[in-house]
Symmetry: C2
Subunit: 344 residues, 2 copies
Amino acid sequence: MAEINRQWCVADVAGGEGMALSREQFAYREAEIPTLQEGEVLIRNVYFSCDPMNHAWVKGLGERFSAIPIGSPMRGGVAGRVVASRHPDFKEGEAVTGFLEWADYVASGSLDLTGTPLQRIPEGFPLASGLATLGMTGLCAYFGVADIGKPKLGDTMVVSGAAGAIGTVAGQLGRIAGARVIGIAGGPEKCALLTRELGFAATIDYKKEDVASRLQALCPNGIDVFFDNVGGAILDSALANMARGGRIVICGGISGYNAPAAGLHNHLMLAIQGCTMAGFFYFDRVGRFGEGVARLATWLKAGQIKEILTVAEGIDSVPDAALGQFAGSNIGKQLVKIADDPME
Amino acid sequence: MAEINRQWCVADVAGGEGMALSREQFAYREAEIPTLQEGEVLIRNVYFSCDPMNHAWVKGLGERFSAIPIGSPMRGGVAGRVVASRHPDFKEGEAVTGFLEWADYVASGSLDLTGTPLQRIPEGFPLASGLATLGMTGLCAYFGVADIGKPKLGDTMVVSGAAGAIGTVAGQLGRIAGARVIGIAGGPEKCALLTRELGFAATIDYKKEDVASRLQALCPNGIDVFFDNVGGAILDSALANMARGGRIVICGGISGYNAPAAGLHNHLMLAIQGCTMAGFFYFDRVGRFGEGVARLATWLKAGQIKEILTVAEGIDSVPDAALGQFAGSNIGKQLVKIADDPME
C-alpha cells in the first residue's frame, strides 16, 4: 500500500463560463490514507472515468450532485479493488465501481457519493470495463437504445458523437438490433474506426461534411432512431430528417456544455412526423442496472460489442484527460489509469 | 338549393414569407353546383373550420396535402348536410364532416381530399360540434392528452394557446383527468374565460406577464404535463420547469408559423429530468376516431367539456376569419357559418 494518498482537488480559483473546469481549477494534493470505520470498505482506485458530469459536479447538479467544497477531492466514476473491508457485504479483492473521490484510496459505505449502491464488476472482465461497457457508459447506451430508441430490424439509426464513450456502444447496440447504423463523428480516424471495427454502415464527418445534406442522402426514408450526444445544429438537422414515428434519444449535448449551442428550430417535426424525443435520468434505473450489465456483458464477451478505450497513464494526466473530452480528443471511453490493479 | 356555388379560391398572387396566406391570395368565385357522379354525395356546407393547415395546404404539406392549384377552391375542414346521394352508405339529411373545398356545395366520394373517410357527426349535436369538440380539434386534444400527456390525479398540467381551439379542449380534458390545469393565453378576456368557465386553476397572460417566472411560481414542483400549441420561447420556458418524468405534447407551434420562432435551448432538460416530448400525426389515428368522438361526445353532453366557438357569419367573412387566428383574434374554435343548416 502506498504511503500517501494522491488526489485531485477543487482549487480556490474562479471557474470559467462553460461547464468544463479550467486547468487552474485542478489542485493536486497528497493526503493520508483514510482510516476505515465500521461499515466501510477501503478501495484502491485503479481507473478514473472522465465524463462531463465530473465538471458539473464541482458546481453542483441536482439533488444527487451537491457542489464539491473548495479544497475537497473532485468526484467521478472510479473502478478499483476493495483492499480492506469492515462491511459485511464486501470482501477484500472484490472489483467495484462507484461515484467516489479522485484519489488513490477512498473509504466508502455501501452507497457511493450519489447515494447509489457500489456496483460489482462482473468476474472475468477487466476493471476498465466496469467504467466503460459495463458501467454508466454502457448502461446509458443500453437504456437509451432499449427504452427510447427501440431500433428494430431494418431501421435506420443515426448516432451523434458516435466515436465517443456512449456513442460507440449505442451504435453497436443498434447494429445488434438489426438496424443500419450511421455515425456522426469528427475526423477521418474516428469515422474509419466506426465502419471498420464497429459495424457502422456509414459515417458523416461533421468537421468537413454538411450534416443536413448528408443525412438526407444517407437516410432517403428518414431516420427511425436518432441517438443524440451532441445537441445544437446536429440535433436540429436530425429533427428535419426524421421518419414517421421516429424516436430521438436525448443522452447528452456536448455542443452546448462550454458555449451556447444553436437553438432548435425543427421541433414541430415531432408533430408532423409523429415522433418522440425523450431522455432518461440514469439514477432512476438503479433497479435495472443488473439487467443491463448482464446483457452488455454477454454481448461484450461474444465480441458483438467491441470496447473502445482511450487510457491516459498516471495520475498526473488527470487534468488533460478530463479537459480533452470537450475538444473531442478521446475515441471511445476516456479513462485515466492511476495505478496497477493489485489483483493482476 | 342556391343557384350558384360560392367559393374561395387560390388567387394568382405570390404569397408572403410565413405560413399564413395574404389577403390578396383569397379569390372569391361563383361556379356551378357540381353534377353528382355515381358513388358520390353532394354536401351543402354549413361551416368552414379555420385552421393553420388551410393555409399550409395552398403550398402543399406532406403526402396528404398536395398543393392546391391556382384558381382552384381552397380546402379545409367543413361540416354540412348530404343533400343528394349516389353512394350506398350515405343518405340525404346526414350530417358529415371532412376535408373538402371551401364552397357552398361539394361532391365527394366516401373519402375526402386527404383520403380520409367522411365522418358522420353524432346525432343530437349541432353541426359546429363536428368541427370543434367532435372533430379534428377535439380529437387532437384527446389524442395528445390521452396518448402522450397522460395527466393523472394531482398532476400539474400547463396548456399554451390555452384559449384556442385545441387548448380549450385539452385543458378541460386535463381537468377531467384530475390534474391542476394552468393556461397560458393572451389578454385578460381569454384568461378570465379559462378560470371562470372552463375550470382552469390559474392562468398566465403572456402579453403582460413573464412566462418563465410565473411558471416557476405556479408550478413549484414542476410541470408534469405541458400541452404545447405555441412553440418558441414559451415552450423553452416550459422545458426549464419540467418535473421528473414529465410529458410534453407537441401539438402546434403558432409562434413560428409566420415568423421564425425563438430556438429551443433547454432540450437537455429531457435528459436531466427524464422527460418525453412527442407529437402525433393525426391521420395515423383514423382507426381511433370513433373511440375519441364517443368519449368527447359523452363529456360534451354531460357539460364536463364546454364548447367555445367564435363564429364569423357569412361567406364574405372567410378571409378575415382565416387570417385572424394568426393574430389570436379567436377564442376557442374559429368557424365561418356560410349558410343555415337545411335540416334545422
